[in-house]
Symmetry: C2
Subunit: 199 residues, 2 copies
């Protein structure tokens, strides 16, 4: 890479985006941040790792439900959700300041948009590619895997829209969108490595 470059990866659940990002980071010899962001956010905020992880899993469905009810639960929940977002944003900025890296999820493309040279990617795939991966990975039948994919993508989409006011997965918001189901995992990795080296 010519300069420091942060590669952000947003991805549909089951598309292999996390694996692609991890392999690309390894080939480029740069750090890969996914769970590490939770650890650093915990360190920065005083919230526990377990708490952040649990909240992260349930964040958006509950958030929208609570906001729609408009009660005290909403305010409390929103406060915690915002604390986590702020702590994670700070963690993401700190990692980006340290040099080139790959960051998966957590609105990193939006958080870094004004300050850092980024290559923003979205990884997607067709339904059966994703189903096949999730059924094998979590030993689920098709129906359960379908449900898991649908709910996970809905959460990611709502969380992204809530904090960025942009549409998750809209190609206009990314530099490159890659269909990992058509290209395959290894070709997607190569594409990112080549793009990062040229950029």
């Amino acid at each position: 890479m010519k300069d420091n470059l942060v590669i952000t990866i947003s991805r549909e659940f089951g598309s292999g985006g996390r694996e692609i990002g991890e392999k690309a980071a390894k080939e480029l010899g740069i750090p890969f941040y996914d769970r590490a962001i939770i650890l650093k956010a915990a360190e920065n905020s005083g919230l526990s790792e377990d708490f952040i992880e649990t909240e992260e899993q349930r964040v958006t469905n509950s958030m929208l439900f609570n906001l729609s009810t408009g009660g005290m639960a909403s305010q409390n929940f929103q406060f915690m959700s915002d604390q986590i977002y702020i702590a994670q944003s700070r963690a993401i900025r700190e990692y980006a300041d340290e040099g080139s890296c790959v960051i998966v999820g957590r609105c990193a493309d939006f958080i870094l948009r004004d300050d850092v040279k980024c290559l923003n990617l979205f990884i997607h795939a067709d339904k059966y590619f994703k189903l096949n991966r999730i059924m094998h990975k979590y030993a689920l039948d098709q129906s359960a895997a379908e449900k898991m994919i649908k709910e996970s993508d809905k959460k990611r989409s709502r969380h992204y829209r809530f904090y960025t006011s942009m549409e998750w997965g809209n190609k206009e918001n990314y530099d490159i969108c890659i269909n990992s189901g058509k290209l395959g995992i290894e070709n997607a990795v190569k594409l990112i490595v080549d793009a990062a080296q040229n950029y």
Copy 2:
């Protein structure tokens, strides 16, 4: 490239997709087909080049208007439009059979979907990148350039939907979507060349 590969390029008007495709073809040392498809379609069908070119420009707006009126004009127009589509499809298949190449537009991704190894790309860009290119290229003011971009993309979108029943520009239909406004023309060319060589 490992095998014969057809690179199809769909693109928003003003995104530089045609230029990117032409440069990528040159770097890969393979033929680039855009206007050549009109010539070959003319040769195959007995229709004149001028006629195909003129019809191609106005194809979809009139087509949809005529279809909605349901009169004889509709049937005649539809007949001519279909003849051109069939002649161009045959030309595209003949070029694809000859070996690796880059084909711009004309539903080539759809036409070749079952028979040929393709890398299907969509090139898009932000409004101001496209406006700037079109204003300079055609010496237009902003308002005229905006109108030209809007009408051209609407035609492309309608034509694609009419003949493929798929949504033009929907990332799910392509292997890679490239934001030429963010990456720049030269990086987009490199990305395609690298992807083609790996694929």
